[in-house]
Amino acid sequence: MSIGSASLDPACGPDRGLNADALRADARRESRGLLALLSPGLLLVFAVIIVPIGWLFWLSLFDETGQLSAANYARFFERASYIKTFVTTFKVAFVVTGACVLFGYPLAYMLSQLPRRAASICLIFVILPFWTSVLVRTYAWLVILQRKGLVNSWLIDLGVISQPLPLANNFAGVVIGMTHIMLPFLVLPLYASMKTIDVDCLRAGMNLGASPAATFRQIFFPLSLPGLASGVVIVFVLCLGFFVTPALMGGGKVIMWAMRMEQTTSLYSNWGAGAALGVVLLAVTLALLGFFQWLLGARATGVWSQR
């Protein structure tokens, strides 16, 4: 951008030629000024995020005796407890993502079809939980689902069951709590992308004799796939590294990736192993995001700003 040229209003028109050189020299000075504006934020991020992660990565390359080795990574394949953690993590991530698609798609579809005013009122139901602290929502689900919780006492009072159902402190509890937390991450980008689908396309389909179901299946659904894909990848990636809900609702039985990292470093102070877990988690996260960005172009990144 050269400041002296083009698009300025006529007010400084006559002087433009004279000012051009001086302004060009100014532009260089300004570049340095802008860099100075940018650098505090950049330095902070670099010092607090990039440096420690790089340091941890370096640590993960050495075993307990300080020898360069791949032992920290090899144990992922050798020890059954690590393999179990990965299996649990991916199982939770798949089930939660599936549940989010199952519940989120119809909701986003409904929102996109409602008149503007009704849609913005219904959107409050998605945004309000989105704003609420993860901790608060996990607490709510504990109250609702635990042994002496609301669901069990209702069902017992109604005579449906005689023994409380195991709903919290297990796999089911983690999945229910996490689905609730992840759902807005799927619905919001999906709804935004559904709003951009041209209604005329749908109308044209119906004018040409397609049934509502066929119009949805052949026109609307394919057009909504990019939005769905970005929602799915966000939810899946967030699930892989999620900590709070499994830690509080897993009852110590559902050990996910992030909990394993916390235990390895805080409980056992095994920084090499914990760091290796973190490095692999970051690599998987970046690979999934990168793959989807490549698949969908710029759409995937735009959606991140929804957070």
Binding site: L8, L34, V51, L56, P106, S133, A140, V143, T265
Partner: protein
């Protein structure tokens, strides 16, 4: 109003869709509503709807020194985070918006890194770094860590404000003799002030609600509210947490509704 996008499908044909969407909306909103109602219960038992009403859990929250100290720590950290993140984030957004710098892609990636990197890794990394420079269990450490996490939100919010603002206005002011800073503060800032305020509110709530990193780097005298809640939830279900949760829900609504409105207004 509804004619703008009406398809020849009647509402009756869509009843199943409304029913399904309604159920999902209920699933989304029910936990918050239940907690708010239960916080006014008079009983230690988890009953819904409560048989008797009282404010005893609010009294227990405000009367407890530990909860009060934790709340004060969280408020202090959140205020300082909001100030720091807004200053750094607005400056960064301004520089990015000028588009004269090299490597804008890399700069954006670095600034928004904390949105993409799993937060557990940030927590462990920060704890590891702080252990070497004695910042664990300090307010400064918490503010720095939270500022890094809030920074991308401020940058993105202010950037979207700057994108809808015509930068030529600032150039005009400068061509008329205003310096860079006075041009910014007198011409640009008043017009993007809503974005800046939104960014500050997002930063405040990001810090106030932050759990994972605080679990690692706060403790002792600087235990944050969320860390204390997390530990309390591991032990038992104390209805006091329902009262605290209600306060957090109200705080989110009060702070983020204007942020949402301002953000859209610009």
């Amino acid at each position: 109003m509804s004619m703008e996008n009406a398809l020849p499908i009647s509402h009756r044909q869509r009843l199943w869709l409304y029913a399904l969407g309604g159920l999902v909306m209920l699933f989304l909103i029910a936990p918050s509503v239940i907690i708010v109602i239960m916080s006014f219960s008079g009983s230690t038992l988890l009953q819904f709807p409560p048989q008797e009403w009282s404010l005893r859990w609010y009294e227990s929250y405000f009367g407890s020194v530990e909860w009060r100290d934790a709340t004060i720590v969280s408020v202090k950290v959140a205020v300082m985070t909001a100030v720091a993140a807004t200053l750094l984030g607005t400056a960064a957004a301004y520089a990015i918006n000028a588009r004269t710098l090299w490597l804008t892609g890399a700069i954006n990636a670095l600034l928004t890194a904390s949105l993409i990197i799993p937060v557990i890794l940030i927590g462990i990394g920060t704890f590891f770094l702080y252990a070497r420079i004695d910042l664990n269990n300090t307010l400064t450490g918490l503010v720095i860590a939270h500022t890094v996490q809030a920074l991308p939100l401020v940058v993105l919010t202010v950037l979207s404000g700057l994108r809808s603002y015509d930068m030529n206005q600032e150039k005009v002011a400068r061509s008329l003799g205003a310096g860079r800073f006075s041009a910014f503060f007198q011409v640009t800032m008043p017009q993007i002030r809503f974005s800046i305020v939104s960014g500050a509110l997002f930063a405040f709530i990001t810090s106030f609600d932050e759990v994972v990193v605080s679990l690692f780097i706060s403790g002792g005298e600087t235990t944050t509210l969320t860390r204390r809640m997390f530990n309390a939830l591991r032990d038992q279900i104390d209805p006091t947490i329902a009262a605290i949760s209600t306060c957090l829900i109200v705080l989110s609504i009060v702070l983020l509704s204007p942020a949402q409105l301002f953000g859209r207004g610009r």
